[in-house]
Amino acid sequence: MEKFTHMTSTAIALEQSNIDTDIIMPSDYLKTIKRTGLGKHAFESLRYTKDGTLRNDSPFDFGAGKTSKILVVGDNFGCGSSREHAPWGIADLGIRCLIGTSFADIFASNCVKNGILTITLPEEDVAALMRDAKAGKKITVDLEAQTVSVDGSDDRGFEYNPQHKYMMVNGLDEIGQTLLVEDKITAFEEQQRLQSPWLYRELPQ
């Protein structure tokens, strides 16, 4: 996984609240058996008309939007189905950071696993960043310092899970990290086997 320490980029503003994972990645594209290449379908209904042509108001496909690495979003972003294709699609678009007032739990945890930072800020800060994004200003996100700033000023601090921060900053894979304590998992299983033996079974080969 690519390390995430800090970055500066223009941002795309998506004001609508309750953007669910069906909007982020329509169910038509869930049938893939691979993780890559989903960017072209991400936010399809916001980017294309029904006949498949690009909408001229698509925030993703014109001007600065094409290279933006940050999305500023409305409330309750990522609600709905747990599909990880949503963050895969977002990552494939080149977006590494989402800023909003609230994110759905499953979606947010799926983001960490795919190297996407979700930043939760109070409503007025998000509204201000929304304006900055529309004005084409550059936003700087510093994960190490846990701040968001615009044009080098207005530092806003944000909270972030320390465990997730460690992973993002070091570009660590979560499984490898967990397997460092494999002996604890084994010890747990031995204990549980005594207390709840019915949870273990011999499956025929």
Binding site: S17, D22, D28, K31, E84, D105, I175, I185, W198
Partner: protein
């Protein structure tokens, strides 16, 4: 210190405390289906890692499969590829796998309980957000993404942040003509789609306790629509009765040992919840959604609300969009709204009791001519067999309903069962999002009895006087 049921489940499965309410949690059960597992298996292979416990997995196709003409090749090559991939992975890892045509095959959340794979006190995960269903057994069930699927495969654990505790108490007695679906829709209408975000919801109170296991599963199933990743109901005699004798239920001396342990799985008297909501079941009227979020719900006797009635400007704007999408106007009666399709099925309402509920309304009547298609999709092969043994299939077929093979079907617009653009569906599933049942489709979430009655009348009616 007094603990909630969720606190107890957390403590029972804590492998390593990482401070700040973060823990490495042991996962006892993993349900695997064709859509969210291929990348997990792919990742395992790419990293050269082993599957830790194949005995903790049950694999089954459900999301992508057709529910008719199942003997013919799959019409969609992408689906066929996913299904073949699941079968290949199941063989490669020697998993317990129920292919199509096997009577044990069905929707993940239906077969888990049916096989005794879901048990009180377990942690159970699946790459589908309605894994909250299993909470009906006092099991901690929650949906996970593909990376987490891989993490569970490799380590049998997940790194989790402890959620807050919320309790929804449903007092009183449920009126005749209402069902578990109406209770949960009323709850979501009350707390809103984000009402349970960051919480695990424990459902409690006399109206919940009075529910069968099927009804409890319907309630927990939709906890996620209230924003909570998991829903819970403390196990009791109803639970033990349901579990006893099932394929993976403990047997003999282990059964007694298990029940003794399961009896401790309830919130302590003086446990404190971060959030409490109380509802009175006796006030519940059959519910129906009007918009594009499960919280957009009104009693069947109600009207489509005016967007101006919402204080929150975002909500107002969403309501305007929803009314446009649903082709409804403010003030319009829900009663009498014409429908094009009926779908009775999904992990919310495809169990035997749901089918009995639908059959009791359908018996001796006919589907309205104006209805394009009315389908009834059992949740598993075993549900199908049971329904046929009771003669329910005949009631459905004689009335003009299509009696299908088990699968997720029209719940998600991913397999051949979809509604066309602009078509209005009376659906027993759990989500009415834009395009959920097919591009442009219009979903109204209701109970099985309400969906069945709508199919007969060709429009929404109040099942209490139908």
């Amino acid at each position: 210190m007094a603990k909630t049921l969720y606190d107890k489940l957390w403590d029972m499965h804590l492998v390593e405390d990482r401070g700040d309410d973060v823990g490495l949690i042991y996962i006892d059960r993993h349900l695997v289906h064709e859509v969210t597992s291929p990348q997990g298996f792919e990742g395992l292979k790419m990293a050269g890692r082993k599957l830790r416990r194949r005995d903790a997995i049950m694999a089954v196709p459900d999301h992508n499969i057709p529910t008719k003409d199942t003997d013919k090749p799959n019409p969609d090559p992408m689906s066929a590829m996913q299904l073949a991939e699941l079968e290949k992975n199941a063989k490669e890892h020697d998993l317990e796998y129920f292919p199509m045509g096997d009577s044990r095959q069905g929707i993940v959340h239906v077969i888990g309980p049916e096989q005794g794979f879901t048990l009180p006190g377990v942690t159970i995960v699946c790459g589908d957000s309605h894994s909250a269903t299993h909470g009906a057994f006092g099991a901690w069930g929650f949906g996970i993404g593909s990376s987490e699927v891989e993490h569970v495969m490799a380590t049998q654990t997940l790194v989790l942040k402890k959620a807050k505790n919320m309790r929804v108490t449903v007092e009183g007695e449920m009126p005749v003509g209402c069902s578990a679906k109406d209770i949960v829709l009323a709850i979501i209408g009350k707390i809103g789609m984000g009402g349970g975000t960051g919480h695990v919801i424990e459902f409690d109170g006399p109206a919940i306790k009075a529910l069968s296991m099927e009804g409890r599963m319907t309630v927990c199933n939709m906890a996620i629509e209230g924003g909570a990743r998991a829903g819970l109901i403390a196990p009791d005699e109803t639970t033990f009765e349901y579990v006893k004798g099932r394929y993976l239920a403990p047997k003999g001396a282990e059964w007694d040992m298990a029940v003794a342990q399961w009896r401790t799985l309830h919130s302590d008297e003086d446990a404190v919840f971060d959030k409490e909501v109380v509802l009175d079941a006796s006030e519940i009227v059959p519910q129906i959604t009007w918009g594009t979020s499960p919280e957009d719900v009104v009693p069947i006797t109600g009207q489509v609300p005016s967007p101006d009635s919402f204080k929150d400007p975002n909500k107002r704007e969403s309501a305007v969009k929803a009314l446009d999408y649903m082709a409804l106007h403010a003030g319009q009666d829900m009663l009498g709204l014409k429908i094009d399709r009926v779908f009775v099925g999904s992990c919310t309402n495809s169990r035997i009791e749901d089918l009995r509920e639908a059959a009791s309304v359908i018996k001796g009547r006919k589907v309205a001519d104006t209805v394009i298609e009315a389908i009834i999709v059992p949740g598993s092969g075993l549900v199908k067999e049971q329904a046929e043994a009771e003669g329910l299939d005949k009631i459905f077929i004689e009335a003009g309903f299509d009696w299908r093979e088990p699968g997720c079907s029209m719940c998600l617009g991913m397999n051949p069962d979809i509604a066309g653009p602009g078509e209005r569906v009376a659906s027993t599933s759990n989500r009415n999002f834009v395009g959920r049942q097919g591009p442009g489709s219009r979903t109204h979430l209701v109970s099985p009895a309400m969906a069945a009655a709508a199919g007969i009348a060709g429009a929404f009616v109040d099942v209490r006087n139908f």
